[in-house]
């Protein structure tokens, strides 16, 4: 796992994309979403991270011919229309980048605690509750399985005899 970071212009592009890709209540979380994206790409193959950065640069500059400004400066309908033009783009690279952006930003968005709370997902207390239940209600069976894991296997005495026969150890 290597350190992966976006430079200021890549962050600006991503910040402009958060309102396009995420629900409105995630917009204030844009910086945390981008930080999370860095962590995800840091764990991914280095080539993927490099490709993603290049893709963001292409996306940023690609708006110039049509909008006379870079993508990170687009907002509202223009930002929406520009992303849609990549989503349904003529080249596979445009389509793939738009899909990757949507997937990775969507993932990062719903990793934010505010967003998981908003959809009613609270696994930590649930895990704690069921773990406690398991360790108390099923204690005897759990202990039995732990003993079984470490016990010599009565079905393999021949192995032990062979070990002696081979004169090993």
């Amino acid at each position: 796992m290597t350190g992966f970071h976006f430079d200021a212009s890549a962050r600006a592009v991503l910040r402009s994309l958060v309102p396009v890709l995420c629900p409105a209540d995630a917009v204030p979380l844009a910086d945390s979403i981008i930080d999370h994206l860095e962590l995800t790409l840091g764990a991914a193959p280095a080539m993927m991270g490099r490709g993603f950065k290049l893709g963001l640069l292409a996306y940023d500059l690609g708006s110039l011919p049509r909008y006379f400004r870079r993508a990170h400066l687009l907002a509202g309908d223009k930002a929406e229309r520009y992303f849609a033009s990549w989503e349904h783009g003529l080249t596979p690279l445009q389509v793939q980048l738009a899909r990757a952006l949507n997937q990775l930003v969507g993932l990062a968005c719903y990793e934010q605690p505010e967003m998981t709370a908003a959809v009613g997902y609270a696994p930590a207390p649930w895990i704690e509750k069921v773990t406690r239940k398991r360790l108390s209600v099923y204690k005897d069976d759990i202990d039995k399985q732990a003993r079984q894991i470490l016990a010599p296997d009565p079905l393999r005495p021949a192995v032990q005899l062979k070990k002696v026969a081979h004169g090993r150890r």
């Binding site: 796992m1 290597t2 350190g3 309102p19 890709l21 995420c22 629900p23 409105a24 209540d25 995630a26 999370h36 962590l39 995800t40 840091g42 764990a43 991914a44 193959p45 993927m48 929406e80 949507n102 997937q103 969507g106 993932l107 990062a108 968005c109 719903y110 990793e111 967003m115 998981t116 959809v119 009613g120 997902y121 696994p123 930590a124 649930w126 895990i127 069921v130 773990t131 239940k133 398991r134 360790l135 108390s136 099923y138 204690k139 069976d141 759990i142 399985q145 732990a146 079984q148 894991i149 470490l150 296997d153 393999r156 192995v159 032990q160 062979k162 070990k163 081979h166 090993r168 150890r169």
Partner: protein, 519 residues
């Protein structure tokens, strides 16, 4: 009342586990058997051989974690436990995203814990077409041994969540065959976090079953060590050379293991690359070939009622009605919100509107027994998978999706989102049949897998197979493969138990022929 421990090893690392913290300088290890990989194959064979008295060293590229390390932080778990953060792709149209575990315990740490024996007809095919002695009569003792060790059992009724009850409701309404899942679990209580490391200790992954056993019988486990290549003296494998992987992913001190027997158990993607890096050749041309991967796809069904699928066991049931038609099973597979958001084509306000229904969703998937095969190529020492979904398999999955939608609507779903990049939502079974009877562009499919198999297939005929019937590489000496690479064909069911049973069988063969392999 005293409280049980989460798992056998919790707290200080057990004796015999070495990580990058201990491996600070170049290290030379001598042993009888070195096992590369600590998952379903590697962990199993390590325990079997250690119990028989062999001096075993297990080498694992991933890190060592304990049950208490598995938290509710989904993406942190993915970064820690999945190779390349889960961003591994088989190139093709469509690209197939696949996942491999990279941790002590291998993919068993992140799988769903489904424990099924290889179907009789698959074993029979392996015997008749590939000449391997794997009849059910021969394999049964090995299956039994594995099932006891990893505690294969039906689910406790109170751990089954609403999403699975809805799946059953749909199957029962139509009259389709649905079976209670067999899983390697000791009183699973339904945290539904199997894919991110079981936080309750219930899933009896290799991490908490076979590896503690291997350690108990004297094996050593070296975590954070990547194997560069297998060393050889002529055709005889003599050990491995590797290096410690530092926390930042860079190359650390060198690790050399000198052994009498080398076991490659790094999975169907990594094992062929390891063999190729080590100069192993197979006249069969099958090394890296024959990749099958049980392509699967998922739908998201929205119900009116509350489901809260994350409270309940993962895949408590499997629909097996169409298993003999290359559709292995349908199952409910709850996903955290982030993974759902990543899996659907929705964005912006539309994504927000969909996610508001998160607790009313049933995510259900189907597994296709593929007829096509791909290949793992080794490029600059690294494996890259290539796989082209066959038209026939795509058509079968399309039919499967239609059937799965029929089931979900019979269970009461109001709408179902299909796994296509162009957004498609269907509102009843007729709508699903209509949409899914038309052409779907191959590139629109969203296909994923966790079952990679077949890239060093076993068989009697060395001109057609990489290894013999026990997994010994035909054109090498003392080099054994013990993972899903061995499968001559896809197994139709979740592959873990087949891998473990074959590894147990291979261990018995080594034990019975110790002078030949470990003298």
């Amino acid at each position: 009342m005293a409280v049980a421990k989460l798992a056998v090893h919790e707290g200080a690392p057990p004796t015999g586990v070495f990580t990058r913290r201990e491996l600070r300088g170049d290290t030379v290890i001598d042993c009888d058997v070195v096992v590369v990989g600590s998952g379903a194959g590697g962990g199993t064979i390590a325990a079997e051989l250690a119990e028989a008295g062999f001096d075993v060293a297990v080498i694992e590229e991933g890190s060592y974690y304990q049950t208490r390390d598995f938290t509710a932080d989904t993406s942190a778990m993915v970064r820690q436990l999945y190779r390349e953060g889960g961003a591994t792709i088989a190139i093709g149209n469509p690209p197939v995203m696949f996942q491999e575990g990279r941790a002590v315990g291998g993919s068993t740490v992140i799988n769903g814990g489904m424990s099924w024996r290889t179907p009789d007809e698959i074993l029979a095919r392996w015997v008749s077409e590939f000449g391997v002695g794997t009849t059910m009569a021969e394999m049964e003792p090995y299956f039994e041994r594995v099932e006891r060790r990893i505690h294969v059992a039906p689910m406790d009724a109170d751990a089954i969540g609403k999403d699975n009850h809805l799946l059953k409701r749909g199957a029962d309404a139509i009259g389709w065959k649905i079976v209670g899942n067999l899983r390697n679990q000791a009183h699973c209580v339904g945290s539904n976090r199997c894919a991110f490391g079981c936080p309750t200790g219930a899933k009896q992954s290799v991490l908490v079953s076979y590896l503690p056993r291997a350690l108990h019988f004297g094996a050593r486990v070296y975590a954070d060590v990547r194997v560069d290549h297998i060393t050889r003296d002529g055709k005889r494998a003599t050990g491995i050379v590797g290096h410690v992987v530092r926390a930042d992913g860079t190359r650390g001190p060198r690790v050399v293991v000198r052994a009498k027997l080398v076991v490659a158990a790094a999975g169907a993607i990594q094992t062929p690359a390891l063999l190729v890096r080590s100069g192993v050749k197979s006249p069969s041309g099958q090394l890296g070939g024959n990749l099958s991967l049980h392509p699967n796809c998922k739908v998201v069904a929205i119900f009116d009622e509350d489901v809260t699928g994350w409270q309940g066991a993962h895949q408590a049931f499997q629909v097996r009605e169409f298993a003999d038609q290359n559709l292995g099973c349908f199952a409910a597979v709850n996903l955290p919100p982030s993974v759902v958001a990543m899996s659907v084509p929705h964005r912006g306000a539309q994504l927000g509107a969909l996610m508001q229904h998160y607790n009313k969703m049933v995510v259900a998937g189907l597994l296709c027994e593929d007829t096509a095969t791909g290949r793992v190529r080794t490029i600059a020492g690294r494996p890259q998978a290539f796989y082209q979904l066959a038209d026939r398999d795509a058509a079968n999955m399309q039919r499967g999706l239609s059937l799965l939608c029929e089931l979900l609507f019979a269970a009461g779903a109001r709408r179902v989102i299909l796994p296509f990049h162009h957004q498609t939502e269907v509102v009843d079974a007729d709508d699903a049949r209509r949409v899914l009877s038309g052409p779907i562009r191959t590139s629109d499919w969203e296909v994923v897998t966790v079952h990679m198999m077949g890239t060093a297939r076993m068989g009697k005929d060395r001109s057609a197979a990489v290894t013999d019937a026990h997994g010994f590489v035909h054109d090498a000496d003392r080099l054994l493969v013990a993972d899903a690479s061995l499968f001559p064909t896809p197994v139709r069911v979740n592959p873990m138990e087949t891998i473990m049973a074959l590894a147990t069988r291979a261990a018995a063969h080594v034990i019975d022929n110790a002078r030949r392999y470990v003298s």
